[in-house]
Symmetry: C2
Subunit: 388 residues, 2 copies
């Protein structure tokens, strides 16, 4: 078990009706707010109006950064930074899923920095005096409501990079599962794939002795497998939406990686796709994950995948290790397919002759993704081809 | 799934060598320290000297509150409060297990209160301006290093009560598994029973829909079952000590109760024993837990215990519900016995004619313990008799 530092100071309010916490939480930081949201789903489902009512009642002054893209773009961050400076913003409030939250984080971190926010994406130590960040979550997926990470896309450079900073942890997050009732089936499925992928990235490591963290990861995976199908059948099933929402936070808030070295593999490969083709992140992950599993399956990794099969998919212990590993990988692919996710890169409209370009851009700042098995760009290309 | 508030702002440093964090963490709060510890095991195993060296090097002024009892007593708290006032203490640093930490918490909370610290045990809202609390953990058991709770014994009134306050969460906790290598077998066993009991108290509830929290609880239980026997056989097995140490924190830091109503039952029954006879807390819990399970086992609770058996003890699914429940209870008793814990109240030297007196004092401030099944004092007496 590796050494670690636990530090997760967010105040998180979970459950139906918790929007009542918004006013007292905002007032801890001021009453000049930048409201960050996406394409307008919060207007259709009524959450925007509820927040307007609270702003009016509490005499909150606010400015809007709307239209944040599913893969939030640098130019949107720049627009938010300008709004913060112009209006002396005291709190950046994201209402939405990971895109809005990630955008809010990098906005909050860039206000006191003179250069481009892209510099901060490349080197988070440049972020000083990060503005307080608040969250009202409307999509269970990225876990950004309870972690220090953000992912930003630079369309000019065709790069999608993650960045972490301790002050990117939201000061408060409000998680009301009923706010996800109106999430469409395709996004519910993609969000589940995203949180399962976060769990996989933490879970699949070799011999680090962090038994407890691996069992916790299996708890999160079992929760996704149990409730995603229910949420698809019954979008307003509270128990399903609630379990998925909390799973999305636990998958990435650190819990599953304590005591482990987790060199994520699949996210880097997916980010290269999204940077070029605006792929839905969770869909890209669902397609790549089983291909990656198959690609790295050998005698050194078979036990790891077999254990996953025994513990998560309740495979018979009588199955030998390699057979169990293969069965677990197949179960994974079948599960994602059962959620209605298109399971090949071809179906996403990505041209085959672009695979090599994307594969070369996947390793961030080097030639190799340092995963369970190191992946050179040719390995990435092979995995892309298997997933095509 | 019930609503909840997550708030766990401790800075926790886990792993071998993390004592290097002590100096920078202390300096966040000042350099006048009350050092709180127990019967002197930290002098025998060298941890005391390591801390003395750090104090000398960093020019920390310190005063000692030593000899904290295994069930920490009100009069020791009073002594600590006086030291804090006399020497303008800025940080209360507990070095030890739950006893020292709990004592440190109530000391820290009572310095600014004019009356008896017992008032604060009865009503934590009386605690104002709680002094910062730091922890160096040397025993995996109570989880006090990562929770807002403390338990104090009033020997004059024969009462042992728990008390919680948000500012009783330590500002920092240092968890080095090697610091538990010298913990004797009996305390390793009792500590494991304590953390398993915390997990049980959170886990055994009826129909709250918190699927994910129950799966997480099973992860903690599996960890205890996996590693306690190894730690007994090989006291300096790092992997075993590390997994147990982190399990002790996760069992009670809130993770396992989010989304649930957890009306603890067995702790109240055990506290009544400890208040009269200074029973080792974990031993009392290990004895009472299987008896309590058997006492409340009926058609309404059988599924709950059966699920525990299927998921934690890998009982065959072909077993019917009631048989699985009974088998799971037996497995629990056998496991505690296998750790060398004396499994009857008689063996602890408690006189049978005192059971009724203790049973009447078990429900705190009322006639009933509001557990999975409400327990009137006669029920408590029945359970004591089953465990005798």
């Amino acid at each position: 078990m590796k050494n670690f530092h636990y530090h997760m100071p967010v105040d998180l309010f979970f459950g139906q009706g918790q929007l009542q916490q918004l006013a007292p939480q905002m007032k801890r930081f001021g009453n000049r707010v930048l409201l960050v949201y996406g394409g307008g789903s919060i207007k259709r489902n009524g959450i925007y109006q509820q927040i307007m009512d609270i702003f009016a009642q509490e005499q909150i002054s606010f400015w809007e950064l709307s239209g944040v893209e599913p893969n939030p773009r640098l130019e949107t961050v720049v627009r938010g930074v300008e709004l913060c400076r112009e209006h002396q913003i005291e709190l950046v409030l994201a209402v939405g899923g990971g895109s809005s939250i990630d955008c809010a984080k990098v906005v909050a971190g860039s206000v006191q920095y003179d250069g481009s926010p892209w510099d901060i994406v490349l080197d988070s130590s440049l972020a000083q005096d990060v503005l307080p960040i608040g969250v009202v979550l409307t999509l269970s997926a990225t876990g950004s409501e309870m972690d220090p990470m953000a992912v930003i896309t630079n369309t000019q450079l065709n790069l999608k990079y993650g960045v972490g900073h301790p002050d990117f942890i939201p000061k408060f997050s409000i998680l009301d599962p009923t706010f996800t009732y109106s999430v469409p089936a395709s996004q519910t499925a993609a969000g589940t794939a995203d949180m399962m992928s976060h769990t996989f990235e933490n879970y699949f490591t070799l011999q680090d002795g962090a038994f407890i963290s691996n069992r916790l990861a299996e708890a999160v995976l079992q929760t996704c497998i149990q409730y995603a199908p229910i949420a698809l059948r019954e979008p307003d099933n509270y128990e399903a939406r609630a379990n998925l929402m909390w799973a999305s936070s636990l998958a990435i808030n650190g819990l599953l990686k304590y005591g482990k070295d987790c060199p994520w593999s699949v996210h880097a490969m997916e980010h290269a796709l999204s940077a070029y083709y605006d792929v839905t992140h969770g869909v890209g992950l669902a397609i790549l994950t089983p291909a990656w599993m198959e690609y790295i399956l050998d005698d050194t990794t078979a036990q790891m995948f077999a254990d996953y099969g025994y513990h998560v998919w309740q495979l018979e212990r009588s199955l030998d290790t390699m057979s169990a590993a293969k069965a677990a990988i197949n179960k994974t692919r079948e599960f994602f397919a059962s959620l209605g996710i298109p399971m090949s890169l071809r179906q996403l409209g990505i041209p085959e002759d672009m695979l090599e370009t994307m594969a070369k851009s996947a390793p961030k700042g080097g030639n190799t993704i340092n995963g369970v098995k190191p992946l050179h760009w040719q390995d990435v290309l092979n995995i892309y081809k298997m997933a095509y």
